[in-house]
Symmetry: D2
Subunit: 348 residues, 4 copies
């Protein structure tokens, strides 16, 4: 049950509402005056939580949304007009942000085609080799997504290997963590295992898809990289005046590992969904299910039938791939209903 | 009483929390799933409210903050790399947004020195005349603030005269309305009297300072000017995925004229404050009190004493001018306590 | 003989000096005063020549270099911050201009992999189809190079088909014509056959590689597209104060079809070179020789030996492809010497 | 005599042609092949000349025009999106380059009103003080023009004082030297006295107005500041492929102090002009004549009469100020004719 007259959406984890604990935290922060722009105790609490979770050297900054987190974080990795970024061609910064990287940062993205949305070290060195002696901009950062846009995860060792190759060539490693929690849940490890301890330089911690109203954190794992951030965040339109209400959301998720409970649950629901349909003839699971997304290939004629019943996106029309996402508030019953309907449609 | 152990802040109307009705509206919107990015009923309600208030031709778009509203609105007034903007030198876009206009829009701001933060038509024609035959960028918009940064208001006729001169020269008129409600309250007229009906082309309606958590509206008064806005808003980092929660805040303020009640009250508190201190020797009211701000000149030695007791900003150190702001939650008792303390300090 | 103690360079047509007629034209323009910034008779002559060659509707503007011509021309095809460009992945704007498109125009380039550096209409529609419903920027122009970076040429019909598909989707067609003369020479037709008459909207006419000192023309084939160009050219750092000396170079090339004689000759020298080596075992001609470039695959060990004797570039190290370019001042004897040396090295 | 049927222009030193020695140098460089993009002996000669004139630590780079020189030089002084520049409000970067600074660099210019176009140290500290604690971008460079736009010059001591205050606050000092030669001529000292030795960090040496066809140098006085310049120059559309012809122009001017002879002469002609008219009733010299410009206040009705006979610009219409410029090719006879005509018109 989701309080709505419609069946649960499998379209995106941003179709969900706000987790009750987050809403409660917003309410609790509503106690009269507080200084604006972050000099308040809720923001100080958030900053302390970031250090607790990501290490003493980490500096966290709250922003409004995921694109904002990416642009603010990446801007700190650039110093010159000819600096550039290497990323998978599926990266959200390359495909989902309306050209913000090119327009707001002025950078060229060197995109790499990857089988599972994941860069490997040789991808980086191949790009750098190809640029050798060219008249192209100069990469200064590698940007990866954890969870990737295809629902897959990097292991800590895989991240570490990328950090090593990036650093060896003087590049920084940026991680788009719009679904960072789901990666930690899948990997069964602390957030810092595949961020701080794996050599990541900047990472976002996505709150919105994990249960926040609108709150993301940009986290610099070496504090020197945060130099100038407050001014840059303001210029980048990502500074909340009543910041306590953004910070309080993030603190709520970071408290008592609520983020992990939410992500564990969402991931389990995707697993349940994939397991419940994978035996169906005509349906195949397209990418490994390593988070809260199931990518499935369906018979083309089944797609509109299912879409008339449930909300979800076609990922690749030409290959008949759909994406089903689960969230912190997806219930086993939601999933089981969906499975039953998929079976019915595909067996028809 | 403000629920805080400290005296009421007079530093800014963004030191306030969230108005209870706004918080309730957020909670009420938290009913399971809703489509992301604005295709939800709360956003449709907000859009309808905008038409109700600003006229059938108006198209409203919700964004996160005031700088975002300004940049998104102004971007729609520009078409070429050499387009420019005329504004007062006190404009928030010129002084308070960390160079966002120059960086994100790439525009030159032609700033005009004004006695009360208000442009007059001859300011516009003087700039245009001076540019005639020059090698300067070409102004395509005039941007004014209503309320101005100095707490003053344009009458509908004054706005109208500016719109006429702008349009006569092929320029659009943009209004930064971070405190639009306070202007309507001061003028005692509907919002559309000095926007739609006065010839404004784009206006922001500021929610945050009026009692929202974080919500501003960019409103295009002729719908053709909104062309491309959804993509631009995304690129400008101002697109909320769970947009219903932003829209619901704005709808709450626009419902039953809550915005006006909040603004009336805040303005009355500034009036009360100004009236309560204006007879004090050594203190003079610096600008006409036409909204929720009082600018006062104080004896320099009194400022730190008062600042040790109350939170407020020094506006101009060299001329010993301070700014005191009131808000929807400032009470007569807050003001009277403050007046008493000011009198004590100045009479000491 | 090239007046140099070294053998003729086959590295690039920009290793050449200035054609004597161009140098004479510069000298002839050096007659005391002339108005700056283009209001001079040499520039008026150039503008008239452009109309003579490209049609009465054409408006030509002189700039300094090829990247400048591309950026100024493309800027006129963009109106909004989310406008984008479709081009082959070999395009000079994508690979040779240090990220100027992303930095100065803020655009995303949607690049297409092509076998011979040439876009076909289905490339355009495939990109547009893939973007349908996405959160990507919106293409407003297709940019092609004539001659391509791989030395191949579009026929007038091929250009026309691209213009049709572009226009049908509301896009403009831009042509990077750094070697436009060589294309006309190869196709044996007037310049306007594959520009004006084929539906191109903006084209560069490259002077520098054809014999100028430093002079390129940006030509708008429908004059309305040139609106604002003078201001844009100044802002884009492409305005020569003593413009008569740039214009005079272009007029010299456009007079009595000097451009065609130069290009015919350069093309013939590449043809002679390709014909003279194509029978060699171990050497194969990599792309069709349709202009003044020969791309050849050589045994890897032969490359450094030849490079110790002649100046030329390795195009693709991994595939052992080299590029040899000829120019207006390459003589048959230069080519024959080079052929003899290539044969010697490859037969060794 | 200027080889033209018209009287000598007093409109601008860019109405002149090319000095014969510069034209000869271009011709002399036209000896067959040379590597492109600056790896040629003429460019090496130019680079050596720069070191000879500005000191061993200086690194010079040739570009096309003055705006290009300013943008390329200033870009090297910026590292972050919120970096800004302090300059006089008369600066060419603020008034004459169509908004290139805002568009291409994305910077805000903090402009200072000055009586004679010259900044003084307290101007810099006042701007910095006013920005203290603000939400404004952060100045990283001070940019001055030598000669200023008003024809005045900074003494070496004045430059030195500005460099000291800039460096003390962590800012760099940039000098727009479109007429650098005229300043050295006026001051009667070597170029390095008010550049290298006065603490300037980046300076342009303007060739075009001194007799070149189109050639300016960007000179970094500490070589580390030049890091990345080649890539930036390419991206900034200021890289000449046949660079030898740009370098040769600059070397010609820098050889045997031709630049000084040209500037001495031009300055002397302005002096002669000012001296010849300063006693006229109704005419007053508006700014000190310290270079090759004379600013004069005339009776308004005299201006169109004189403009029907001679080419020159009205500098300030409302105050009836005109600008008369002389150049390397202005003869005493030109000046005396002009004086005679001015006297005639004013005495009429």
């Amino acid at each position: 049950m989701n309080g709505s007259p419609y069946p649960k959406s499998f379209a995106s984890d941003n179709h969900t509402g706000v987790h009750p604990a987050v809403l409660a935290a917003i309410g609790a922060a509503n106690t009269g005056d507080a200084p604006a722009y972050g000099d308040d105790r809720w923001t100080h609490d958030f900053e302390a939580k970031v250090k607790e979770v990501f290490g003493e050297g980490a500096a966290g900054f709250a922003v409004f949304n995921g694109s904002g987190a990416n642009m603010v974080g990446l801007a700190q990795t650039l110093r010159r007009p000819f600096d550039a970024i290497i990323c998978p061609d599926t990266a959200h910064i390359a495909t989902g942000e309306a050209g913000a990287a090119e327009r707001l940062l002025g950078v060229k993205l060197f995109t790499v085609s990857t089988p599972l949305g994941k860069l490997v070290p040789s991808d980086v060195t191949k790009v750098l080799d190809a640029l050798e002696g060219s008249n192209q901009p100069r990469p200064t950062a590698v940007s990866i997504s954890q969870v990737t846009e295809l629902g897959t995860c990097y292991t800590p060792d895989e991240v570490s290997a990328l950090a090593d190759v990036a650093h060896a060539h003087g590049l920084l490693l940026h991680m788009d963590g719009a679904r960072l929690a789901n990666a930690a849940a899948f990997l069964g490890c602390p957030l810092r295992d595949f961020t701080t301890d794996a050599g990541v330089d900047v990472v976002n911690f996505g709150g919105t898809k994990n249960g926040a109203l609108a709150a993301e954190a940009v986290i610099f794992l070496s504090a020197t990289l945060a130099e100038g951030l407050p001014l840059l965040r303001r210029q980048s339109l990502q500074l909340a005046s009543k910041m306590r209400f953004i910070s309080a959301q993030l603190t709520a998720l970071l408290t008592d590992d609520l983020w992990r409970a939410n992500a564990d649950h969402a991931n389990a629901m995707s697993r349940r969904l994939a397991d419940g349909v994978s035996d169906l003839p005509g349906l195949s699971i397209h990418y490994p299910v390593e988070s809260n997304a199931v990518f499935a290939t369906l018979p083309p004629e089944a797609i509109p039938v299912l879409q008339s019943m449930y909300s979800f996106h076609v990922w690749d029309k030409s290959e008949s791939v759909v994406r089903w996402m689960t969230a912190f508030d997806t219930t086993p019953a939601h999933v089981d209903d969906f499975i039953a309907d998929i079976r019915k449609v595909l067996n028809a």
